[in-house]
Amino acid sequence: MSTPSADELFKSIDYNPPASGWMETPVDFSPGNWCYPAKEDKTEYMMNYLPEAFGNPREWSPEDADWKLPSNWREIVMNGFRERLDKYRSLKVFMDICVRCGACADKCHFFIGSGDPKNMPVLRAELMRSIYRGEFTLAGKILTKLTGSRVMEEDVLKEWFIYFYQCTECRRCSLFCPYGIDTAEVTMMARELMHLVGLNINWVLEPVSNCNRTGNHLGIQPHAFKDIVDFMVDDIEEVTGIKVKAPLNEKGHEILFITPSGDVFADPGIYTFMGYLMLFHFLDLDYTMSTYASEGGNFGLFTNSEAMKKLNAKMYNEANRLGCKWILGGECGHMWRVINQYMDTMNGDLQGSQMGLPRSPITGTEFHNAAVTKMVHITEFTADLIKHKKLDLDPSRNDQYKVTFHDSCNPARAMGLLDEPRYVLNHVCNNFYEMPKGTIREETFCCAGGSGLNTEEIMEIRLRGGLPRGNALKYVQDKHGVNMMSCICAIDRATLIPLADYWAPGVEICGVHELVGNALIMPGEQERTMNLRQESLPGFEDEDDDWTPPNM
């Protein structure tokens, strides 16, 4: 499938809805409109652990007419729906109080880039609400169509599959709804229901099963994990002349450091990872990492609360085994959503008695805002170090970059972590520019690949959803010459690359701690001639000749 050019794609967007009503408008099931379903063995694997939450493993394709649903699928879904109405006030209230004012309609990046009315958050939720009214309310049963209600049928479920896997659970819509109706929450419920009857996607379920077994979503086994970390230690040595330590699975350290495994595995996350390692080495921090809990990101969030809880619990489990007092968390989006909104509620009882109020061993700062979860965000930690002048920084080493910052949806809208990363950035680089108002901070736009949608087969959908972010980026690129977009999310670091290549070619993506690593002056280091990407620093360009590619 060829992707249209950016210009063609832009011209194809039409905000006028089709002539037929949405219940009558058929859904397009051609390839490119859906993510590949989970492989049979992945579903089976998860069913071994959580039989209540996953079901119906099989080979199937959304393209076929027969989705091989279990014969009693309707009963399963409706019972699951009823159960969730009883378990979640959010769902019940959100089903009842939407006034269809449409304030949320043009807030979703997928609608902005596609014009598909079913991507308006209100209509996305109506896909579920119509069933709620038809099956669970008296008025809906009597007046049917007049109240916009319908009964559950296979076509409806298929429509759910398409559109609830075209929502990145970014919560931007919730910000603009006068009642705070959170369509991401509705999507989460719909996905839980679909998992019951085996409507899932591989890009979510494979990571979930990998996280369960190997500890990280990429399925990197412990020895390979160590190899990769060692490679990065070598690369750091190449750049700085210093061999940093990278402790793994070691007992008796104060801090357990957990970051998304994307930082270990993929370019450009690895540079961010090097930044962490350099920072910790500089501080001589008493910490360890773990292969068992080698994933910060919680892909369970994109399936159901059961899987989320199971994966999240590894963090405390490992802190206890290793005897760590608190956990330092790397740059990850949904990891922080889970930590902030779910972790203590779900797994607080697993914390061992050795855990305590996080306290920076370098500055003595006590992180009271993380008193129960015992987890501190790395930008909080670093900002505190900078404030106390504990770091030697040379921001001019990032002078070849004109930097902007992409607020990742999850830390921004599920937590409110807005100023900390900016504070760090402003101390590690000299050229920082904000993207336009309305596209940053809590109003930030999604990378369009969150919640497990960062998969190739829906690239056009992702590029469409990436329009608002890409366009804001293009603006600062044109105006200020921005050539680097930093962010604090590993999914972003993967998904923003094709997005930037498409909408604002020439802009690269990095984590905040990559820039920290570049700027950090380490005692005893050799003269730095290149940055962590092993690109020449300004003034050392002629050394380009012995440039070696980073080893990933």
Partner: protein, 344 residues
């Protein structure tokens, strides 16, 4: 289509009392029985619904954060208290601003696409129309409801008289025109127009969205008709309403039929309320993204149905990968795991 259905529906509703009282002289039914029943249905079913919401727990704290969090160093990073509250009082203030000032709608934006010579542009502009007219509509509605208290209370409380005075302060016409009457009609017409004109909103609008607008418009217009054109006998009406309140109902003679139309439409609204989206009014207070502080990192929150799910244990993990871990020099808890399964 949906708009037309709703309009026709409201017309029929107007005809019922016109015929019932005007031709069939069923004034007791329309003046007493129906309103009493309506009030009963409204109260009982609204309360039932709120209790039903309340019966579902809030397992997780999921406030939407619309500003900077409470940081570990509140001086360095100033918390946005009303948008990202971290305690009860801040949350209450957030709710008050929301309920009384429609703060979220105030910040509404509209998105538009433009082609410029520098390429495509996605523009976001502040869009306050919905906020303005929604506010006008809701506040006029509130004032009108409060003004009506003078029919149900004796002596009339001072604030009702005060409202009455303020509302009519322009002193136009006789009886003096109420500003709220004009504003509510203006607000309603805007909300209707918006649904009809904006293609996106029209697409999502159901009969259930137009019907309450037309119904309330019908109520407002019949009220205006009574007051300014039919000039109904207010003394007689007060006698009727006080009868209702003191549970000694009777219908005095000489009340214009327009009054019965007005009361009938109000009764329909009351009966419709608990089963419709109008429940957004109590519902807004129950919304878990708005009525909770963002404090789960430092205060425990209990999930009443927290399932017993344990992680895959480290022991199982080490069994699975022990030989590789040993080879890579990673420490093992149980040295036996270093051997491949067949050796063990």
């Amino acid at each position: 289509m949906n708009a037309l259905y709703s309009l026709v529906f409201v017309f029929i509703l107007v005809l019922i009392p016109l015929f019932g009282v005007g031709a069939a002289h069923l004034s007791t039914i329309f003046g007493i029985c129906i309103p009493m029943t309506a009030i009963g249905i409204f109260l009982v079913f609204s309360v039932v619904k709120i209790i039903r919401w309340g019966r579902s727990p809030v397992p997780f704290r999921i406030p939407t954060t619309a500003g900077q969090q409470l940081s570990y160093d509140p001086e360095m990073f100033k918390q946005n208290k009303w948008d990202n509250p971290s305690n009860g009082i801040q949350t209450v203030i957030r709710m008050i601003l929301e309920v009384c000032a429609f703060r979220t709608l105030f910040r509404n934006t509209s998105t538009s696409l433009h082609e410029t010579k520098n390429g495509p542009v996605v523009a976001f502009a502040s869009s306050k129309w919905l906020w303005l007219f929604a506010l006008l509509f809701h506040y006029s509605f509130l004032i009108i409801v409060l003004r009506h208290l003078r029919l149900f209370l004796e002596p009339i409380p001072f604030f009702v008289n005060g409202l009455d005075f303020m509302d009519g302060i322009l002193q136009i016409g006789a009886p003096v025109m109420y500003m709220s009457d004009l504003l509510i009609v203006g607000g309603l017409l805007f909300l209707l127009m918006r649904r009809l004109v904006d293609a996106k909103i029209r697409y999502i609008s159901l009969v259930a969205d137009y019907f309450p607008l037309f119904l309330i418009l019908g109520i407002a217009l019949s009220g205006i008709w009574m007051r300014y054109y039919a000039k109904v006998d207010v003394i007689a009406i007060k006698e009727l309403t006080m009868g209702l309140v003191s549970l000694n109902p009777h219908v005095p003679s000489g009340i214009d039929v327009s009054f019965f139309v007005h009361v009938f439409l109000v009764s329909v609204l009351l009966m419709y309320f608990p089963f419709s989206k109008l429940m957004h009014m109590p519902g807004v207070f129950m919304s878990p993204t708005r009525n909770m502080p963002n404090d789960t990192r430092f205060r425990h929150h209990e999930n009443p149905w927290n399932p017993d799910i344990k992680p895959l244990s480290y022991e199982a993990y080490e069994k699975d990968f022990g030989p590789m871990m040993a080879e890579a020099g990673l420490p093992l808890d149980n040295p036996d795991n270093a051997k491949a399964p067949e050796e063990a």
